[in-house]
Assembly symmetry: C2
Homo-oligomer: 140 residues x 2
Amino acid sequence: MDAGLMRTRVGAARVGELATADAAGRPHVVPVCFALDGDTIVTAVDAKPKTTTTGLRRLANVRAQPAASLLVHHYDDDDWTRLWWVRVDGTAEVVDRGPVRDDAVALLVAKYAQYRAEPPPGAVIHVAIRQWRGWQWTGP
Amino acid sequence: MDAGLMRTRVGAARVGELATADAAGRPHVVPVCFALDGDTIVTAVDAKPKTTTTGLRRLANVRAQPAASLLVHHYDDDDWTRLWWVRVDGTAEVVDRGPVRDDAVALLVAKYAQYRAEPPPGAVIHVAIRQWRGWQWTGP
C-alpha cells in the first residue's frame, strides 16, 4: 500500500488498537481514540469510565518499554477482498503535562466531538512513528 | 463485564486484533480471524495474500515470547456509551501439524465461509487463555 494511502487511512480512522508490552515483554492491546499529526500519533487516557488497572497499564508499559504499535484496519465479513490494515510502529512516551501534552489534547478535541464536551484530563501517549506498514487484498 | 457476556462477545466476533511481542519485547499487532473453543483461541496464517514478513512475524514472535493478547471490541463514533471491549491474555504456541492444528483448522472452516473455499494451509497459533478482561461504558 503506498505511503499516501496509508497516511490517509490512518488520518481518517476513528479508532485504532494500541499494542504495548510490559517490562517482561508481555503484550497488551487496547482500543484507542487517537490523532495523527505528521509522523506522530497521540492518544490520551480519557475520561471514559475504566478500571484503574486498564488506565494505568498502558502508561506503565510505555514507561517500561517505549516500543508501541498502532493498528488501523477494515474488516468486511462478506467480502475479504475489501480487507486492509495499516500499522505504525514507533517509540512512545508518556507526557503528563506541558505544551506537548496540551497540543495533543487540542488535536484530540478537534477530532472528536465527545472530547470537546470533556477533554482528556490526564496524561497523553505520544508515539514518534518509526515505520509504516500496510496491507490490502491484492488477489490470490 | 460478566464472564458469560465476555465469552458470548468473543465467540460471536468475526475479527480480533492479536498482539504479540518479539524477543526484545517490542509489540506487534495484526487483525486476525479466529475461533474460540472453550478456553482456547485458535487462529491461522491463512491464504489471504500477504507479505512473507507479515505472515512470519507473528509466528516468530510467538516462538520467542509465548505471551499473547487478543482484543475484540466495538466502536461507535456517534455514541460512546455503546463502546465495549474484551481482551483475552494467554499463552500462545505455534502448531505446525498434527491433530491440534487440524482441529483448529476445522473450527475456522466451520466459522468462516471463506475458509471453506480455501482452508488455511499452514501453521496455527493456539492460545491457552489465562485471563479474561472486559470493559463497557457504565456511565460517567
